[in-house]
Amino acid sequence: MKIMTESEQNRLLKHLESRFGISEKIFSKFIFLSQGNSSFLISNDKKAEIKKIISQNAETIKSAGIELFSDNKRFIPCSLGFCTFDFKDIMHNFVVIERQQAKDYFEGTTIDVKKIIDNHKNLLSDGYIIAIYNETIIGTLLFEKKQGKLIPNIVYKNKNVK
């Protein structure tokens, strides 16, 4: 685990702004960290202590704050990390889904939702998008425009979601 350089951080910020319209300002309260290809955000309230711990104990640190991207190079988002944002901070590349689709999402089922995509067509482009249910971000999906499909980007699939 290490603290990201300014250029590494700026690269992610640019992507977040261009892909989702998330303002850079939102990240002013965070420290950006990286481990392998992954990036993490941690609250910067205790900056001095965090820097000391990260710099001197990198090998025993397993995680910090929330994971933002599981792959920084290809900008593959970590769904649980994106759930930390307020849905109002997302300007584009999001879909507002209904309860049944939210169930499908957590079950890891491909969501074939032409109607939803039509409702958001000006806001979506191929790649990862954010799923909002009941004014809460519940994760991210991979949008394939040609197939009209949304593929849940989740690690743990659940059965019989209620």
Partner: protein, 312 residues
């Protein structure tokens, strides 16, 4: 309902400790624990309450804000969208208390020494309003995955997770304002949740856990800042793993003092820590600790003690 397995040695031990009350205690071991949920205030979890109320019967605990008893079948909500979104977490009432007793502020640097699976860490983060810093440690690499998942799901942003042995824990001399040691234990308090929780119980297990707990409490105490506070808790009832561990740290660290627990007065049926055990006199201040007997509280068995590192 499956009957709880209570080993003969266990029954004999608690017959000696509780005397006439022992039968009530053994009976309570067979009453399944009422499930509880904790609303996640960091994720506007209160918005889930109305949805939950349509599906299940829940009742808020008046002395523990944000915790609800669930009076329906667990299967009715266990895998709901709201739970998977981290709006609430299933968490027994007793296990919320150590974080509430520690009560860290939003400017504190906190260590949770035995953190997995992470529910208590999440409570600490909620109390701190996701500010300050928590170092969440667990020695068990396998359990770290669950810990990290829990923290991510609940939207905790103020936590660093480490995997080290708690008995010689040191992050380059960083000292902490508050420390939680929810120590690995023989798990006697879990019997109402899991009928075979005492399958592996023995006095030897209790002694082995007590040895580990003594090492953990010394390790934790030495990481406190002056005037810092430590909460020691277990989900077991054996005095060897509770009062005797506290008595041990008070004897070997003269700057360790037991502090009152304000919420104690509000918990119905709660008992004091023992100050005598098996003809041994223990530190009289141990009475300030919280002992949660299932038959008196209808909760999971638990022990909680708050200790301050004072200026000598």
């Amino acid at each position: 309902m499956e009957k709880a397995y209570l080993p003969e040695g266990f029954k004999k031990k608690y017959q000696a400790i509780l005397g006439k009350e022992a039968d009530d205690f053994f009976k309570s071991c067979n009453n399944r624990l009422t499930k509880a949920i904790r609303i996640n205030q960091l994720k506007k979890g209160s918005s889930a309450i109305d949805i939950l109320k349509k599906e299940i019967i829940i009742k808020e605990i008046d002395w523990l804000k944000g915790s609800y008893l669930v009076e329906s079948e667990v299967s009715a909500f266990g895998n709901s969208i709201e739970q998977l979104s981290g709006l609430f977490q299933m968490q027994e009432v007793s296990s919320v208390l150590p974080a509430v007793v520690l009560s860290p502020s939003s400017t504190d640097v906190v260590l949770d020494l035995c953190s997995a699976p992470g529910n208590k860490t999440a409570c600490l983060a909620e109390i701190m309003n996701n500010k300050g810093l928590i170092v969440a440690n667990d020695a068990d690499a396998k359990r770290i995955k669950t810990l990290v998942y829990t923290l991510k799901k609940l939207g905790i942003i103020n936590t660093i997770v480490t995997c080290r042995n708690g008995i010689d824990y040191n992050l380059n001399n960083i000292k902490f304002d508050k420390i939680l040691i929810d120590a690995p234990c023989s798990g006697e308090g879990l019997v109402r949740k899991k009928a075979d929780a005492l399958r592996d119980w023995s006095e030897r297990l209790v002694s082995a856990k007590a040895e580990l707990q003594k090492k953990l409490i010394v390790s934790g105490f030495d990481l406190l800042k002056e005037n810092g506070e430590l909460v020691y808790s277990t989900c077991t009832l054996s005095p060897e793993e509770n009062e005797e561990v506290i008595d041990y740290i008070l004897k070997i660290r003269t700057d360790a003092k037991i502090v009152d627990i304000p919420i104690k007065q509000m918990i119905p049926g709660v008992s004091d820590g023992f100050t005598n055990y098996k003809e041994k006199k223990l530190n009289k201040d141990i009475c300030k600790a919280i002992r949660i007997w299932p038959h008196k509280t209808n909760l999971e068995g638990f022990f909680i003690c708050r200790i301050r590192k004072c200026r000598i």
